[in-house]
Every structure is written in C-alpha cells, then in structure tokens.
C-alpha cells in the first residue's frame, strides 16, 4: 500500500497519504482501545491468582528455602559438636553442607516453576 503511494504520485505525496495516515491512526486507536478493554476485562474475571501474585509467592518461597537450609545445617553441626565434643569441626562442615542444601532447595523449587510441558 505504501509502495503504491510513493510510486504513483511523485508530485504531491503529502496530502492524500497524510489524510490516509490520520484515518488509519484513528482506526488503530479505536481498535487498540477495544482490545485493551477486552483484555483488562478478561484479567479481572480470571479465577486464578494473577501473574504478579504468583511471582511474589515464588519470591517469598525462595528466600526462606535458602535460609532454612543454612539454619538446619548449622543446627545439626552445633548438635554434632555438643554431642561428640569435636569443637569447631562439626559446625564448619555441616554449615557448608547446609549452604549447599539451601542452593539445592532453590534449584528444586525454581525448577518446579517451569512446568515440563511449558516450553520445548
């Protein structure tokens, strides 16, 4: 369409294409408004929690999963030391293991974020 416009009238391309352009812009505007109204309508009536709410739930989960791993590792190490009297070593080893377990927790729960059939 635009090709024909520029080829056909070399002398006065401004006037007709300008009118066409404003007409098209107006049509696009109304179509956009209608589409937007439709979409917000659909979002409001959807029964599931919206995307941002699910993202927030995910974030709340990840932070505490990691912290829980470290806390449990440190706790086991402390009990280990207290029971066997191996002064600092139990705490060192189990805190690092707990850190790894925390990262594993994060990987697990963020891997679950993507459903298997969702992509690929």
């Amino acid at each position: 369409m635009s090709d024909k416009d520029t080829q056909g009238r070399g002398g006065t391309p401004q006037d007709p294409s300008g009118g066409d352009f404003s007409e098209r812009l107006r049509r696009l505007d109304t179509a956009l408004k209608k589409a937007q109204a439709d979409r917000t309508d659909g979002d409001e009536h959807s029964p599931r929690p919206s995307k941002s709410v699910e993202g927030m739930a995910q974030a709340l989960r990840l932070a505490s999963e990691f912290a829980a791993g470290v806390i449990v590792g440190g706790g086991i190490g402390w009990v280990f030391d207290w029971a066997f009297g191996l002064s600092p070593w139990g705490l060192i080893v189990f805190l690092l293991l707990g850190f790894v377990a925390g990262v594993l927790n994060i990987l697990r729960s963020s891997g679950l974020m993507k459903k298997p059939g969702e992509r690929e």
Binding site: D81, L91, I92, L95, L96, V103, I106, S110, K114, R119
Partner: protein, 74 residues
Amino acid sequence: MEALGQYIGAGLATLGMGGAAIGVGNIFAQYLAGALRNPSAADGQFARLIFGFAVTEALGIFSLLVALLLLFAV
C-alpha cells in the same frame, strides 16, 4: 572481657554478609537488565544465574561461619 571480644568480633564478621548482599543484588540486577533487553535468552541463562548467586553467597556464608564460630565454638 574475653566474652566481650567474642561478641565484638562476631558483630564485625557479620559485616561481610553485607558485602555478599551487595554482590547478590548486583547479580540479580544485571540478570534482570539483560533479561529485559533479550527476554528470549533469559530462560537459558537461569542456571548460570543460580551458579553466580551460589558462588557469591558462599563468601557471605563464610563470614556467617566465622561469626558462629566466634559465638559458639571458641
């Protein structure tokens, strides 16, 4: 007096976790910036994001370890 030194040392050791916090924030900020520029490549780099997070956070865990050792093991 010795216990006082332990507490001060433990408090100083926790400052290292602030550094780790800055690093982790930096990693996620850069990831988000990159993901917004090229959203199609973002999912493929998620494993590297977690890897970078783990390496950075490990240094923070070391300072937590020093603090806990000062409090409970020394």
